[in-house]
């Protein structure tokens, strides 16, 4: 099942029906085929935690997880995401509502100023640790380099990622 259905032939407008699986819940939405996943999340589903920065793949503000891997929602058609498990910043907290350890670490390390890049940073950071790319500060910087922070909170972001990576490694040991 692809979760995609084409509805009409007019040039523009909501002429495609797709089923998006976001944070564990299925949503049937009608959209214009041009709609990016980023716009679908924000404008169709009201999930505004995922931010629009450059809309061209250069800033990382729109980072989400697709089937567990970090990807840029501004460079993905919503229709292409149908059939995948999509996780946004809204879906990161535990079932009891407790913040994800990475969210807690960002708070503890004051890893933000204005907060605009933060959802993307956190989604990327969670994946960075899961990929095993947080072994040293240099490695964290390299593997977080797709996420820009206009407020330059970088040292505190690295500290937050390092803390979570350290406790994950301690658990594994």
């Amino acid at each position: 099942m692809s979760g995609i259905e084409t509805m009409g032939s007019e040039a523009t407008g909501p002429r495609m029906r797709v089923t998006l699986t976001v944070n564990g819940a299925d949503h049937d939405i009608q959209l214009d085929p041009r709609t990016t996943l980023l716009d679908a999340l924000r404008e169709h589903l009201g999930l505004t935690g995922t931010k629009v920065g450059c809309n061209h793949g250069t800033c990382g503000a729109c980072t989400v997880h697709i089937d567990g891997r970090r990807q840029l929602s501004c460079l993905m058609l919503a229709a292409a995401a149908a059939g995948s498990a999509i996780t946004t910043i809204e879906g990161l907290a535990g079932a009891d509502g407790a913040p994800h350890p990475m969210q807690a670490a960002f708070v503890a390390h004051d890893a933000l100023q204005c907060g605009y890049c933060t959802p993307g940073q956190i989604m990327s950071a969670v994946a960075c640790v899961a990929e095993g790319h947080a072994g040293s500060d240099d490695e964290i910087r390299e593997y977080m380099s797709g996420n820009l922070c206009r407020c330059a909170a970088y040292p505190n972001i690295v500290a937050a990622v390092r803390e979570v990576a350290g406790s994950t490694m301690a658990e594994a040991a």
Partner: protein, 275 residues
């Protein structure tokens, strides 16, 4: 800006994708990872009426090693290719080059075949394909055909693929005693390079694949011939002036680019040691 209106379809098989492509002609465009195409559509550099999504075709996802040939399916993501043990072992040049391609989130979606078909002169993989003497596999309504990398990159963002052909994968010959090297100069991590080199030495041949030096990735034939014959590295550096097009752009003047190319050649071939 947003893309011009288009239809979207995700066929289940490669055959169905090719049929759609030949039926809709130039109005249709393939989309794999979309990491180059979506920015181009949003800037309205391109306005196809139909996007045919081949990004999930399992047929294009194989990485195999047989008969001293490494095959990489066009649909493999950059991340999958660079982390694959067969690629790391037998084509370390590719694994190394991919670490310089964009950022992790883009590498998780952009594809090996998409980068080659896109034929960006600043991209790393076309130069690697040239240096490794790779063979492209294309498939169209008339069946499959093979195109040597040396004939594949025809001009700026243009390849030898016919409009109704899909790049299905790439064969890389694996030979013993291969030495390789890779270096690029970019202003920041993840940026396209100002100049870059993918070099491969096999028994009896050295190939120097360059990127960000002109309209396409190119092989430096004269410099490579000097090195193959065991000539001095400095003579090869001098020969680069004839091999590389004099290419000025806002990033670097032709003279600066030639200087940087020589720096890279000394670094890469110098590291191979006494020859």
């Amino acid at each position: 800006m947003k893309a011009a209106a288009f239809d979207y379809i995700r066929p289940e098989t490669l055959g169905a994708a090719i049929t759609l492509l030949s039926k809709h002609g130039p109005d249709a465009k393939l989309i794999a990872g979309g990491q180059s195409l979506l920015p181009a559509l949003n800037l309205r550099l391109s306005a196809p009426g139909l996007l045919i999504d081949i990004g999930r075709l399992a047929e294009l996802r194989d990485i195999t090693l047989a008969d001293r040939t490494l095959h990489i399916g066009a649909g493999c993501t950059h991340a999958h290719v660079m982390n694959h043990p067969i690629v790391q072992r037998h084509a370390p040049l590719i694994a190394r080059a991919l670490t310089e391609v964009a950022h992790p989130a883009i590498r998780a979606r952009g594809t090996f075949g998409g980068s080659l078909a896109n034929a960006d002169p600043a991209a790393e993989l076309p130069a690697c394909a040239l240096a490794l003497d790779a063979v492209m596999h294309a498939q169209g309504p008339e069946g499959p055909r093979r195109i040597p990398a040396a004939h594949f990159f025809t001009s700026l963002f243009e390849t030898a693929l016919a409009p109704d052909e899909v790049l299905t994968g790439v064969d890389i010959p694996i030979q013993g005693d291969t030495q390789w090297g890779f270096a690029e100069l970019a202003r920041r991590t993840g940026d396209y390079a100002m100049v870059g080199l993918a070099a491969v030495a096999r028994p009896g041949t050295i190939r120097l694949g360059w990127f960000s030096v002109g309209q396409t990735a190119i092989l430096a034939h004269r410099a490579a011939a000097i090195l193959t014959e065991g000539g001095p590295l400095e003579a090869a550096c001098t020969a680069l002036a004839d091999d590389l097009p004099a290419h000025d752009d806002p990033q670097a003047s032709a003279a600066m680019r030639l200087h940087l190319a020589r720096v890279l050649l000394r670094r890469v071939v110098g590291a191979w040691g006494e020859r």
